[in-house]
Amino acid sequence: MATLLFFGRLGDMAGGVEREFSLPEPETKLKTILDVLNREDLVLGAALRDPSTRIAVNGEIVTEMGCIKDCDEIAFMPPFSGG
């Protein structure tokens, strides 16, 4: 099981900030997870794949579609707006 976090407007689209995601394999490609989410909801899927959405795995922003393991936390982050 991995934890998915949807920040900002993505949380509204996903119906909540946090959800658990059952991994189909012990090591699941991030791309596979995005494909599953895209099949569930095309609009959310497109927003998650948008180049302006940053993805962090366990708090570290990733640029490669690596593998996700049990207990990993994946955060989907639209552009920041602090200050």
Binding site: P78, F80, G82
Partner: protein
């Protein structure tokens, strides 16, 4: 309070910026210049009064991003200390959102570091801002102008097209 080089606070409850500045000043008795910036919740949005503002952060990751910015400021200017206090949660119009202060021997470094920190907090620290008005709510994202201020360190994300406020 000791004169620590970096002080970061993420707060769920309102804070007193006057007190924050007094404490920061007292903690840096060797400073010749202390600059500060205070960001407050706007009274009105694009078309109508703001009822409240909701600020979301990513606990742990947001603090680390602010810490990185503070370390970069220290690397760039000879500073005695910097302080960042940032709210999250629900804020009313007029409430302080962010306080930034920098202390140095001379004023230029404190002023430059304060500007650097607030400019970069807008686009490099994981926060998400939602404005709630009588007719609904909307997420606010940084403008291209916000990115332009920090373009050397952090260009707008690829595909970013938001030119409105």
């Amino acid at each position: 309070m000791s004169g620590e080089p970096v002080s970061i606070k993420l707060l769920a409850a309102p804070f007193d910026p006057g007190r924050a500045l007094s404490e920061f000043t007292a903690a840096h008795p060797d400073a010749g210049g202390i600059a500060s910036f205070l960001g407050v919740t706007r009274q009105s949005g694009a078309n109508e009064p703001v009822q409240h503002l909701i600020l979301q952060c990513y606990p742990g990751v947001t603090e680390r991003a602010i810490e990185d910015l503070c370390r970069t400021a220290h690397d760039q200017w000879p500073l005695l200390g910097v302080s960042v206090i940032h709210r999250y949660g629900t804020m009313a119009p007029g409430d302080p959102i962010v306080f930034v202060a920098a202390a140095s021997i001379h004023r230029q470094e404190a002023l430059a570091a304060t500007e650097f920190l607030i400019d970069n907090l807008k686009t490099r620290a994981p926060f998400w801002k939602k404005e709630v008005t009588a007719s609904g709510s909307r997420w606010i994202e940084p403008t291209l102008e916000d990115y332009a201020k920090t373009a050397d360190l952090h260009p707008a994300p690829q595909g970013f097209k938001n030119a409105r406020r």
